[in-house]
Amino acid sequence: MSASTNSGVPGVRVLVVLAGAVGAGVAVDLAIGARPVGFGAGVAAFGVVILTVTARGLGMLLRRDLPRESAGEGDRA
């Protein structure tokens, strides 16, 4: 099973692993009595998925080939 689909959308394996990580975060928070439960892990998992999907989508829409003169070739860095 691949980590993501061909379009770059996170695949099932990624989602399962992230869900497991969120579950672990919830368990830790419950164990130490932290509130809100699972906030850090949940926001991170949601953020990874939503940012990756958004970036990949925008990349497909907005990416263009770079003219050689703009690639930095010959520029003094």
């Binding site: 993501s4 975060g25 130490i32 699972g38 926001v43 991170a44 970036a55 925008l58």
Partner: protein, 563 residues
């Protein structure tokens, strides 16, 4: 106003301006001494003068406060002095006279903005900063830099015109130009718009990822410290508590990280993160409580150092390999290991890893939003923090140092980073660690007293969860997040075409103005030709005549109001 005890000779910009003059004329070795000594003297003047102002000046019936070193001004002025010190040390072996002088003038102007007690003095320093930082971009001496510098100047002239219009209108309405918290009126809205252009607020941000990567690698380190943070200072001083800014800041933080994830050019990626991190500061300013203004100031100061460190790290890579795109790099961990270690300290700091400066300043900022019951904004800023980790601590170092080159060829190392580069990066990394370990050192510099500490179990566990899951996500998706060659269109597409759209108007202005401004035109054209590899837009007299007209109009407007 605090006690009026400062002499104008104690203005902290003066040592930097003197040093700018010196580096332009004295031998390189002596200039190196001035490059290091001047920021230290400036830092001393800021520390010694803190809490005081100069005597007021009266000009055409308007009261000016050229020097106001209250706590808010001092934290920004001090951070600017440290930034120019680090950048100067970093560039000791490589920077040109023009870069050095332009960098010092830019820093002096940014400090001038921070310590200006009235809007007229602020505007003067604001425009000096715009012109000096344009020269800093031009100093890369390439066609790309010439184009980017022109667009940078163009947008900052627009921002400057908004600022000037707002100031003169405000002055006419109120009769005072003293720069304090401003009520929102049409005039002050124009002033805020001028500040937001310089803060790179979306969608006015296109100049930043366009111009910063076009400068030399030392120039980028300098540029990253001043323009946006001077705007953050100005917003904090004048517009704290304006709710609109909360959402401007949240939009900046998310927009910046999404576009950063798409970038291949190392410095363009980090430039988008400037937009994102400034978004945190702008959001805090929008909250406007003393805790939130403290958060914005703390995050600005911390950001100046860790962003400088990140840009120095990629600058050392560019210096060593001659390559600036992540897709052209790879497997550099064995040949540039210490650059990787130092870069990672900066990347961990911007990502908010505990025990580093970015953690304490970011958590203070977010705590201020949480404290004012803005849960949606807090969640969105946390998502932006996830994006920061994905690209600065994940994508960029993985593609540059860890993963094999996409080209399949070994990346040649043409030269090693100079010792001065390692010294500057080490100092910056040390500051990140010390501030992270002892946040009280930073809290003591902030405008308002506070006792917040992010080091309690719930916050640390939440942060570690966020960072751990985001890191796991990066590892699972690292191939999808790998850099792709090419450019990603943004609003800079429009900016890049604006000169062509505006060309007829400027040609008309050129013709009308050439009779009375031949001297300025010739000087401007000579300067642009001298510092451009081939004639470009900047070599055309139209732009320089346009600049002269804007400045002359500014003088006329101020004069008419004062009469």
């Amino acid at each position: 106003m605090p006690e009026q005890s400062l002499s104008l000779l104690a203005h902290p910009s003066i040592p930097l301006l003197v040093a700018a003059l010196l580096v332009a004329i004295v031998p390189r070795r002596a200039a190196s001494v001035a490059l290091v000594a001047a920021p230290l003297v400036t830092l001393g003047l800021v520390a010694a003068g803190r809490g005081n102002v100069s005597a007021d000046l009266h000009l055409y019936g308007v009261t000016l406060w050229p020097l106001r070193l209250d706590d808010l001004a001092a934290v920004f002025a001090g951070a600017f002095a440290v930034a120019v010190l680090l950048a100067n040390v970093f560039g000791l072996a490589t920077s040109t006279r023009l870069e050095r002088a332009a960098g010092l003038v830019t820093a002096a102007a940014a400090i001038g903005v921070a310590v200006a007690g009235d809007l007229v003095m602020l505007f003067v320093w604001w425009e000096v900063k715009a012109v000096a930082s344009t020269v800093l971009v031009l100093a890369a001496n390439s066609e790309r830099a010439a184009g980017a510098a022109l667009r940078y100047l163009y947008l900052h002239l627009i921002g400057g015109a908004l600022l000037l219009g707002g100031i003169t209108w405000h002055l006419a309405e109120t009769g005072t130009s003293t720069f304090v918290a401003l009520d929102i009126t049409p005039a002050t809205a124009m002033i805020a718009a001028g500040f937001l252009v310089a803060a790179a607020a979306v969608p006015l941000h296109g100049w930043l990822p366009d111009a910063y990567p076009a400068a030399t690698f030392t120039g980028t380190v300098l540029l990253s410290a001043f323009t946006t943070k001077a705007a953050v200072y100005a917003l904090a001083r004048g517009f704290a508590g304006v709710e609109f800014l909360v959402w401007v800041g949240v939009a900046m933080s998310l927009y910046g990280v999404v576009f950063a994830m798409l970038q291949d050019d190392l410095r363009r990626l980090l430039s988008y993160h400037i937009v994102s991190q400034v978004g945190f500061m702008v959001a805090a300013i929008g909250v406007g409580t003393t805790l939130a203004v403290n958060g914005a100031a703390a995050h600005a100061a911390a950001h100046i150092i860790y962003k400088g460190l990140l840009l120095m790290g990629v600058g050392a890579v560019i210096h060593s390999t001659g390559r600036r795109s992540a897709s052209q790099l790879g497997s550099l961990a064995k040949v540039l290991p210490w650059v990787l270690v130092l870069y990672l300290i900066g990347a961990a700091s911007i990502s908010g890893v505990p025990l580093l400066s970015g953690f304490v300043s970011k958590e203070l900022t977010i705590h201020a939003l949480d404290d004012s019951d803005r849960l949606v904004a807090v969640v969105l800023l946390k998502i932006a923090a996830v994006g920061t980790l994905l690209s600065t601590l994940g994508k960029l170092p993985y593609a540059t140092w860890i993963a094999p080159p996409q080209t399949g060829e070994r990346v040649p190392v043409l030269r090693r980073p100079a010792a001065s580069m390692y010294v500057a990066m080490t100092i910056a990394a040390a500051v990140c660690i010390v501030v992270g370990l002892v946040p009280g050192l930073l809290w003591d510099q902030l405008p308002y007293a506070q006792s917040y500490s992010p080091y309690y179990s719930g916050k640390v566990v939440e942060t570690l969860q966020l960072l751990g899951v985001a890191g796991l996500g990066f590892w699972l998706l690292r191939r999808q997040l790998a850099p792709h060659p090419g450019v990603v269109l943004d609003v800079d597409w429009l900016a890049a075409r604006t000169p062509a759209l505006a060309a007829p108007a400027f040609r008309a202005l050129d013709g009308a103005a050439s009779r009375w401004s031949r001297t300025a035109t010739s000087a401007g054209a000579w300067f642009a030709a001298r510092h451009s590899s081939r004639p470009a837009w900047t070599t055309r007299p139209t732009w320089w005549v346009g600049t002269v007209i804007v400045l002359a109009s500014a003088a006329a407007m101020i004069g008419s109001v004062w009469r």
